[in-house]
């Protein structure tokens, strides 16, 4: 029953999908005015999943610490808005630029230090990095220590704030998607996949593997930094452990969404993020008090029974229908 629909979709040219998706996302806040904030968070989730997949899916380096760039973004924009004394939109723009810059620098530094490490050591090192950052932020008085920071009020009229940040977040997600779409088609993208498939051989072929990995991490860091600056403003408040460097929520969600959609594909993380976010929003309210337990169970279930993700499942299905051995 589902196969004809899938075949139809597969034959649709990608530009048409993109145009339709773009029009729908531009119109969505006016069609569903009550859900603007949730929709803006949907784009945040899409950015999370896509940027995680750059390293996790395309390069085969599973990072549990990508949330650190998001946190840096949150704080950089907030500090700029608090201390620069500029008008709201000037401070926000400068803050976002600073966020992207700091996230980039952090990715280059951490990448040079950590990206020579492979396998589970890398995964655990990044897990430690993310939590260490949260704990350090929770002790630093300049950025509000454990009690967090409040962001300035949006100057526009009631309701315009949500709409404004919706479009900013949509722009970040769209630019991120198009950048990665272009990147995966270049020689750089091929080099990334070569490292994932066999790093020693890739190195023997003359690829500067650590440099490639670091640049790839820096690209995802820039988008995460920007998303962090905007997300902080969307929430109006940032907290070191539960918002900015929240390893147990955003930090795991990005991994989970990319796996759910299908690691190492362009569309997988996008689909995974959309499915995960909608499911989460629908079910969260019914699981009051138990949602984090449910999240843990969900991680275990997806990892154990659905590690190939939606895209992987579709590919298997197509192969099976074509009569080949799956």
């Amino acid at each position: 029953m589902i196969d004809p629909v899938l075949d139809r979709l597969r034959k649709t040219p990608e530009w048409l999908v993109l145009v339709v998706l773009g029009l729908v996302s531009l119109a969505a806040p006016f069609i569903m005015p009550g859900l603007v904030t949730q929709l803006a968070f949907l784009w945040l989730m899409v950015v999370f999943a896509q940027t995680w997949d750059v390293l996790g899916g395309q390069l085969g380096y599973n990072s549990f610490g990508n949330v650190i760039f998001f946190g840096i973004g949150c704080y950089a924009t907030a500090v700029m808005q608090r201390d620069s004394g500029l008008p709201y939109f000037d401070a926000l723009t400068l803050g976002l630029l600073l966020s992207a810059l700091l996230a980039l620098v952090a990715a280059l530094v951490f990448g040079a230090a950590l990206l020579g490490i492979r396998g589970h050591y890398f995964a655990i090192a990044t897990l430690g990095l993310g939590i260490a950052a949260g704990e350090l932020a929770a002790g630093w008085d300049y950025i509000g220590a454990g009690s967090g920071m409040s962001l300035p009020l949006f100057p526009g009229e009631l309701g315009s704030r949500e709409l404004f940040f919706y479009f900013v977040m949509l722009a970040i997600a769209a630019v991120c998607f198009l950048t990665l779409r272009w990147l995966y088609g270049t020689r750089f993208g091929l080099a990334m996949n070569a490292i994932r498939d066999d790093e020693d051989k890739a190195e023997a072929m003359g690829l500067h593997t650590t440099a490639i990995k670091t640049v790839a991490w820096a690209i995802s860091a820039v988008f995460l930094g920007l998303a962090g600056g905007v997300a902080g403003n969307m929430l109006g408040f940032i907290d070191p452990r539960d918002v900015a460097f929240s390893g147990a929520t955003f930090g795991v969600w990005m991994v989970l969404m990319a796996i759910l959609g299908g690691k190492g594909t362009l569309w997988g993380p996008v689909i995974g993020a959309i499915v995960f976010h909608i499911t989460k929003e629908l079910f969260w309210t019914y699981l009051l008090g138990w949602q984090r337990v449910a999240l843990g169970v969900l991680i275990v279930l997806i990892v154990l029974f659905f590690p190939q993700g939606i895209m992987g499942w579709l590919a298997d299905r197509r192969r099976a229908r074509a009569g080949g051995a799956a």
């Binding site: 490490i117 138990w290 984090r292 990892v303």
Partner: protein
């Protein structure tokens, strides 16, 4: 920060107090790390849920103690209960990830750790818990060094628990089967060892070690639902420094970490103690990889 450091340097007695209390805490870290190295060596899994098992063991001991179980029985009760939980976890989740990609096992055990963390938080509340055994303290050097008796007892019990397991692995038939499986699971299987049961047993024994560590932690120190991950990271770093299967190394690394952490917590301020643990782990990995890179290899 500098003041605190000078305080330590100028008062050797006080420094002794800080180091000694840290060493005593280190025994618990070493016990949890021994369990992690066992699971890592036999099942080839980095058990991210390790720290949550310690915390869960602590809560089981706390619940038993507050229902009138005498303090000397807390450790066996918690260890037995956690053995059963470990066994159960193996047959529900862990057996599915044993021969999978390492990323799968890390993510699955990470998911489990979130489940247990949130369950303990929901059931027992997020308050800091500690059970007062009422054993008092003893003083040395005119009261400059204060050590609670329970911490000394916890230290001894931790060493004894680890020692018992070590003897078991060395001499019992099942222990030998576990070591054989660690060396070569395929050969062990061909020679008639039920490797699946050995894995379950190993994971159960790891649970028992965590239960013992947790029961000692709740009596001698404190527990709350969110200290699981720090225990995991401590165990991981101890195993990385000591090397797999090196029991002596685990003890030395565990005690050193305990002392170092306590000194760092005092010098930097207690709010940075957890940050110190995580940063230290990252630095150890970076340093190990840098050393490996000079020999044209890498950490993986």
């Amino acid at each position: 920060m500098v003041d605190n450091f000078l305080l330590l340097v100028q008062n050797p007695n006080f420094a002794l107090d800080v180091v000694l209390n840290g060493l005593l805490a280190g025994a618990i870290f070493a016990l949890a790390a021994y369990g992690m190295s066992l699971v890592w060596g036999v099942l080839n899994i980095v058990n991210i849920v390790q720290g949550e098992l310690v915390v869960l063991g602590g809560y089981i001991a706390y619940a038993a103690l507050s229902h009138g179980v005498p303090a000397y029985a807390a450790l066996p009760v918690s260890a037995l209960a956690m053995f059963a939980i470990g066994w159960g976890l193996y047959y529900t989740v862990i057996f599915r990830v044993v021969d999978k990609d390492l990323f799968i096992s890390i993510l699955a055990t990470f998911g489990l750790s979130i489940v247990i963390q949130q369950l303990t938080n929901t059931i027992f509340g997020s308050d800091v818990r500690s059970f007062d055994t009422g054993l008092g303290s003893f003083y040395m050097l005119d009261g400059a060094v204060t050590v609670a008796w329970i911490k000394v007892i916890a230290f001894v019990l931790a060493m004894v628990s680890g020692g018992v397991l070590w003897l078991f692995l060395r001499h019992a038939r099942l222990g030998q089967a576990i070591r054989a499986t660690a060396q070569n699971p395929r050969a062990a299987h061909i020679l008639g060892i039920n490797t699946d049961r050995v894995y379950a047993m190993t994971y159960g024994l790891n649970g028992a070690l965590c239960g013992a560590a947790g029961s000692l932690a709740v009596m001698a120190w404190t527990i709350h639902p969110y200290i699981g991950l720090p225990y995991t990271v401590r165990s991981f770093m101890i195993v990385v420094v000591a090397g797999l299967g090196n029991v002596g190394g685990v003890v030395v690394a565990g005690l050193s970490l305990g002392a170092l952490e306590n000194v760092a917590g005092f010098v930097l301020g207690a709010e940075y103690q957890i940050a110190f643990v995580f940063t230290l782990m990252v630095l150890i990995l970076v340093w190990r990889n840098w050393r490996a890179a000079r020999r044209r290899t890498y950490l993986s």
